[in-house]
């Protein structure tokens, strides 16, 4: 009798009939092991290293005995939970106002909520310091308060909520859009009041989405590094920054690794809980076309309240970008606001190497990440091979693993033989490629699942091998997913900081790391100028890809991007 083992053998035999496919399979599986799993394994191993080649829990005991690190653990969890709940609330109100209540300015609110997603993740922190810091526009210039306590809990919470509520908005917008308004109509038709319908129909239907969004924000906030590095201060330690300081400040690799593990475990738990929730969310999706609601679920009073709420949040976001723009052109922020191009002279002069490096690194990692994402989506959805589930779950891991952990993993794994990469361009490229494939994979899988597999079978049947089938049939069909993957990889590559900060060197540096350094040395103008340039480059890249898609697919092409 045959067993699962022989099924795997049969699958392998079948794959071996196509040497190109076999080579790609081995290459993909091998590189996922080396560049995703091996660094994580190195972190775990380093945290258990008690010296003399022995393993033990000594480092963890030290971490547990340190009141300061215990506080960091508690702070991280509390901050992530708060941000997740508040951010999801704001995101839900935004999404509800835009999709259901049809408030005026809906398009404007949509834009406001999307801008932070394409910005460097610490731009909120930078702007908050410019607005509420020691020389803050509001606290000092307007209110004349000295040493306003913006560092620590208050400032960080504000920065993280502003940074992450857009993620909740995008998630919940999708959930609310896929919900059939006819259900609400039916509930009202049965005699429910508006509030009752909202509570008994809309909210329960959206609940899995809301819970998923809370978990997603929890994972992202826990992993956030830029905002706390700028804003947390020493009185409010959080894990991601402490892991960084242990390694960069005290050269204590084992302790940094142990803190990373403490950061990794809750992230993974929340991530897999979120995936599980999403996978069993069946009843919110509609069949057929979205239908227009005929009744109004929102009363006029409630619509005004929603409008005011969205306006206030939008004002805050606008204020952040306003202060970045003004700061980039102001002589000395807080004291001398006369316009100047001094900061840009710095950025395009002495500091231009970082701009060039960033463009080279993000620009060359992007096509690889995009293509690899499509290849993995194709393999996972269309090819039977032993280890398919393994490839799928490992390639999605970087969604869950905080950048700090991956960064530490890379310096631990690639600082010694057999693979020495520290300080090279390669280590940054590899890190970017393997961290930024998941969005491409996800959208590739989504498109492939809606395409009949017999289309590819037809190509094989007509004599195409796997390489030709992928190149001539699959890739052209999933082109929109490919572009989504490209945009994501490029945006994240340009704005990456948490893992990259461990991997930069004097030879290869990044704009984001430079911005952090300028903030730390109090040079807010230069930081703002760098940030502005970064946002402009990203916006231009997205506009360019949209243009290409429009030329390719007509006027609906632009909407193929999920941004």
């Amino acid at each position: 009798m045959r067993s699962y083992g022989s099924q795997a053998a049969a699958d392998l035999r079948r794959a071996a009939r196509d040497p190109v496919l076999l080579a790609v399979l081995l290459l993909v599986t091998g590189s996922l092991i080396v560049f995703v799993l091996y660094p994580l394994f190195s972190v775990g191993a380093a945290s258990l290293d008690v010296g003399g080649g022995k393993l033990g829990l000594r480092v963890y005991r030290e971490v547990a005995q340190s009141a300061y690190l215990r506080k960091a653990f508690f702070n991280s969890l509390m901050m992530s939970t708060l941000t997740a709940v508040i951010g999801t609330f704001i995101g839900f109100v935004f999404a509800f106002a835009v999709t259901r209540a049809r408030v005026p300015l809906a398009r404007f609110f949509n834009t406001i909520a999307v801008i932070p997603i394409v910005s460097p993740p610490f731009i909120g922190a930078l702007a908050i310091i410019m607005l509420f810091g020691n020389n803050g526009l509001i606290t000092w210039n307007l209110l004349r308060i000295q040493n306003f306590p913006i560092y620590g809990f208050n400032g960080l919470l504000l920065a993280q909520v502003v940074t992450f509520f857009p993620v909740a908005y995008l998630t919940l917008k999708g959930v609310l859009e896929s919900m059939n308004p006819i259900l609400e109509d039916a509930a009202m038709d049965l005699g429910g009041t508006r509030w009752k319908v909202f509570r008994k129909v809309t909210l329960p239907l959206a609940f899995p989405g809301i819970a998923g969004s809370v978990l997603l924000l929890f994972v992202e906030t826990l992993a956030d590094f830029g905002n706390p590095l700028i804003l947390a201060g020493s009185k409010f330690p959080v894990l991601s920054v402490q892991a960084y300081l242990q390694i960069v400040g005290m050269y204590d690799l084992p302790k940094g690794a142990a803190i990373s593990v403490l950061l990794l475990v809750p992230s993974l738990l929340a991530f897999y809980l979120q995936r599980w929730l999403v996978s069993r969310r069946r009843y919110t999706t509609v069949t057929g076309k979205p239908q227009q609601s005929t009744t109004q679920i929102v009363s006029p009073g409630a619509r005004i309240a929603l409008l005011v709420f969205c306006l206030i949040i939008s004002l805050l976001v606008a204020l952040i970008y306003f202060s970045i723009v003004v700061g980039a052109f102001a002589k000395v922020w807080g004291f001398d606001h006369r316009p100047t191009l001094e900061h840009f002279k710095f950025v395009f002069g002495v500091g231009f190497k970082a701009v060039r490096d960033t463009l080279i690194i993000a620009g060359s990692a992007t096509p690889f990440a995009g293509l690899l994402g499509m290849i993995i989506a194709y393999l996972v959805m269309r090819v039977r091979f032993p280890g398919r589930r393994f490839v799928e779950s490992v390639s999605m891991l970087s969604f869950a693993v905080p950048g700090t952990v991956i960064g530490i993993g890379y310096i631990l794994a690639f600082n010694h033989k057999p693979l020495v990469l520290t300080g090279t361009l390669a280590i940054l490229l590899l890190n970017f490629i393997f961290r930024y494939i998941p969005v491409g994979i996800e959208s590739g899988k989504a498109i492939l699942s809606s395409i009949d597999p017999s289309i590819e079978e037809a190509a094989v049947n007509l004599g195409a091998d796997s390489r030709k089938t992928f190149g001539k049939i699959t890739l052209p069909m999933i082109l929109p997913a490919f572009f989504s993957g490209l945009v994501f990889a490029f945006v994240r590559g340009m704005t990456a900081v948490s893992a990259a900060i461990f991997l930069v060197s004097s030879r290869w540096n990044l704009m984001t790391v430079h911005i952090m350094a300028q903030v730390e040395s109090g040079n807010l103008g230069a930081a703002a100028a760098y940030s502005l340039l970064l946002v402009l480059i990203v916006a231009m890249a997205i506009a360019l890809i949209r243009l290409v898609l429009k030329a390719q697919y007509g006027k609906f092409g632009g909407s193929m991007l999920h941004f």
Binding site: R13, R14, E457, G463
Partner: protein, 373 residues
């Protein structure tokens, strides 16, 4: 070219089943002659599509061999087998024009441009889609897509043409038209063809021979006449068309002159008997509804000369369909008997409650073994 399937078995892993596997096809043997059109017919899940996909190379048999034109291709991948398939969903490449779709196979073979253009143009003319050459697939109707799929398969002049329920997405009228078209094309190119369907009328129209399958097993191979009029067992008789079955005891088994006795003691004659029917044993007497003629209780109809009485009973239900009338007759046998009258104006029209006599010709009576499935 000829196709040979030797001892094919296919297992799928299925954790939800006892034993963790599903036997999709079991010990399947079939020889298809050069230029022959063979249809695999059976209910869904009977293994017909799996068998077809093993000929194409999309599935590998767990054991057994696939031979095409005297060559063992069991280990060849689909792109190395000289087969062309017409898919149920047509599988037209959505990002290519009709012309590019049809020429894709020749292009992969590296044929020169002029030759590809010439061949593509010619086949599109044969298929009546020449004017669609520059259309995109989403601008085609179902019937047009079907023709493009067929043209794309035939233009490669494959050794074997494979059809996976190609007409199931078309409306009834187009389906009838396309099955004649498929038969015409196959005849004019004489390409060996294997066709999968669950529609018996489709199978009867296109095939030289039909293979009836059930639960992974071959139930019978034969010409459409053999399958319909001389089924090998109860499953085939039931699956192809409607049938009256009477439990009987075999009194005499002789060449073309079999005698059986029903449970009420009446005797019947039947010209044919399926293998497995034994003298002195139990059997099922099969008469198709259209072979039972309905007449008045006294049996006065002149047209029924030469026919024997099958049963007497009362009309239970009448369904008037215009061209035919269908009757259900209660003859005290537990299950009602079915009879179809083809010329109701001439043969008379019976109403519920009428007492009637049913007659049959021994040439239309066939014996089946009792326990066969």
């Amino acid at each position: 070219m000829s196709v040979r399937l030797i001892g094919i078995t296919k297992e799928f892993q299925d954790p939800e089943r006892e034993g963790g596997k599903l036997l999709a096809v079991r010990d399947f043997n079939l020889e298809i002659g050069e230029g022959e059109f063979v249809t695999l017919l059976g209910p869904s899940g009977c293994g017909k599509t799996t068998t077809l996909r093993m000929v194409a190379g999309f599935e590998m048999p767990t054991s057994g061999e696939v031979w095409i034109g005297g060559r063992n291709v069991s280990n060849d991948p689909p792109n190395k087998r000289d087969t062309s398939m017409v898919f149920q969903s047509y599988a037209i490449f959505p990002h290519m024009s009709v012309e590019q779709n049809v020429g894709f196979g020749l292009e992969l073979k590296g044929r020169p441009r002029e030759e590809i253009n010439r061949e593509v143009k010619q086949i599109m003319e044969v298929m009546g889609i020449a004017e669609l050459a520059h259309r995109r697939p989403d601008q085609l109707s179902g019937g047009q897509q079907q023709r493009v799929a067929l043209a794309r398969a035939i233009v490669n002049k494959p050794s074997v043409l494979l059809f996976d329920e190609p007409l199931s997405n078309l409306d009834a009228k187009l389906r009838e038209q396309m099955r004649l078209e498929i038969r015409r094309i196959q005849q004019s190119f004489r390409i060996t063809s294997v066709y999968v369907t669950h529609d018996q009328a489709e199978a009867m129209t296109v095939s030289d021979r039909i293979v009836v399958m059930n639960r992974g097993r071959m139930m019978q191979v034969g010409t459409p006449f053999e399958i319909y009029s001389r089924p090998a067992n109860r499953f085939v008789a039931d699956f192809i068309g409607r049938v009256n079955l009477l439990p009987v005891r075999v009194e005499r088994l002789a060449e073309e002159n079999n005698l059986v006795r029903g449970e009420d003691g009446s005797t019947f004659q039947a010209v044919s008997a399926a293998p497995g029917v034994r003298e002195g044993g139990q059997a099922l007497l099969m008469v198709r509804p259209e072979s039972l003629s309905v007449s008045g209780a006294e049996g006065d109809a002149a047209s029924d000369t030469g026919k024997l009485v099958f049963a007497r009973g009362v009309i239970d239900k009448t369904v008037y369909l215009g061209a035919t009338v269908e009757y259900e007759i209660d003859a005290g046998l537990g299950k009602p008997l079915l009879a179809v009258s083809h010329d109701p104006v001439d043969a008379g029209f019976w109403r519920t409650g009428d007492r009637v006599t049913l007659r049959y010709s021994p040439r239309a009576a066939h014996l089946l073994p009792v326990d066969s499935d």
